[in-house]
């Protein structure tokens, strides 16, 4: 970025005395100080420029360095600053608010005065802002529901009831738990975005839940009644005789709650597992099992 010469900006000669520089700066600042021009964005830009220039050549030490070329105009840039006007015009909730500048207009009976009165009332009773938070919960909590306590940045705590069946990204609105308003405006709301942590076992699609479940060879071949975990506790499920890896069994009503009432289902996909260690008895049995090599499970797998 090209920086203009600070003497040019202030409109003084490079040989000007310190007093002349101060006088020039004051004259410009009186006209351009952002707080004396609350509706004028251009003034703020210009003021930034003259304040930087004055910061450089209004200081005897820095001016000497600048004149000798040791520092340049880029070194004088000021960090952005919040002015009084940035607070005073937006919020009425501070001790400096003063409506006396138009109090006389408010007592008339015309339409303009009515609008003015309504505006003043609306400001006096402005509702507080909504505050946004996010909350990470376990998958199981998202299905079964839960009570969580959220600690806010300001130290307040918020008790949040997670309804059963919430989905990722859903926003819970807690009425009246946001920022305080002014007058009779009341509190804003707290908006809590739900973030569901991935689960090691369960996944969800729509209202249904999916689970991969290992079973033993014996359970798969002979059938069995086994315990199956669900987000709301474990249940007993019948594995039919002759089940296979990939067989999907349905647990009716064990899914997530539906909007329309009732629940989705949980689908359990079986995975037949051999014992972890090689088993001599099993090996002996399978080598004597004549039908073991008479079926082709790869029929449909093409190269």
């Amino acid at each position: 970025m090209q920086h203009r010469d600070p003497y040019d900006i202030l409109g003084v000669a490079a040989t000007a005395s310190a007093e002349d520089i101060q006088k020039a700066y004051r004259k410009l600042a009186k006209k351009l100080h952002p707080d004396l021009n609350p509706g004028n964005a251009e003034a703020e830009e210009k003021f930034k420029e003259i304040a930087s220039a004055y910061g450089l050549v209004g200081d005897a030490e820095k001016r000497k360095k600048f004149d000798s070329g040791e520092i340049d105009a880029a070194g004088a840039e000021r960090p952005p600053r919040n002015y009084y006007k940035d607070y005073a015009s937006t919020d009425r909730d501070h001790p400096y608010a003063d409506d006396s500048g138009f109090a006389d207009f408010m007592s008339s009976e015309d339409a303009f005065s009515e609008l003015l009165r309504r505006s003043a009332r609306a400001q006096a009773n402005r509702r507080g802002h909504d505050l946004e938070f996010s909350l990470a919960i376990e998958f199981v909590e998202s299905i079964a529901g839960a009570s969580k306590r959220l600690t806010l940045p300001d130290g307040r705590t918020l008790d949040v009831t997670i309804p059963a069946g919430v989905v990722e990204g859903q926003v819970l609105r807690l009425r009246g738990k946001g920022a305080p308003g002014s007058g009779k405006g009341g509190f804003g709301d707290a908006l809590i975005t739900i973030d569901i942590k991935l689960d090691r076992s369960f996944t969800r699609r729509d209202d249904d839940i999916y689970l991969d479940l290992p079973v033993t060879l014996t359970e798969a071949v002979l059938g069995a009644r086994i315990r199956v975990p669900t987000p709301t506790g474990s249940v007993t499920m019948a594995v039919p005789k002759g089940s296979n890896s990939g067989t999907v069994l349905r647990l009716r009503g064990k899914g997530a709650p539906r909007h329309s009432g009732g629940h989705g289902d949980q689908f359990v996909k079986l995975k037949v597992m051999l014992p972890k260690e090689p088993d001599a008895e099993l090996e002996a049995f399978v080598s004597g099992w004549a039908n073991g090599s008479s079926y082709n499970p790869r029929e449909e797998v093409t190269a």
Binding site: H33, D35, P38, N82, D91, A97, Q123
Partner: protein, 94 residues
Amino acid sequence: MKLSRQEFLSLSGVDQETLDVWIEEEWLIPGDSSAGVSFSDIDVARARLIRDLKNDLGVNDAGVGVILNLLDQLHGLRRTFKQMRELAGTIPSG
């Protein structure tokens, strides 16, 4: 954001004694809290404005009071004007 007296002094660059005078003059109106007076962001911005007026613009004490009073009336008007514009937006035109 609530600031203690100490935090306020370091943020605004105002010294202890000057702050007492400004509060006395009601140029600054700090809030009350259980731990004594408390300040907020708007107080810091207002203190910087007062400092600019006195140091940079060469305004004397009487002038500062007059300027603050007029500025606050101006901000009251601007705020109400903005609110009126919002309300006017809800009135069907035509």
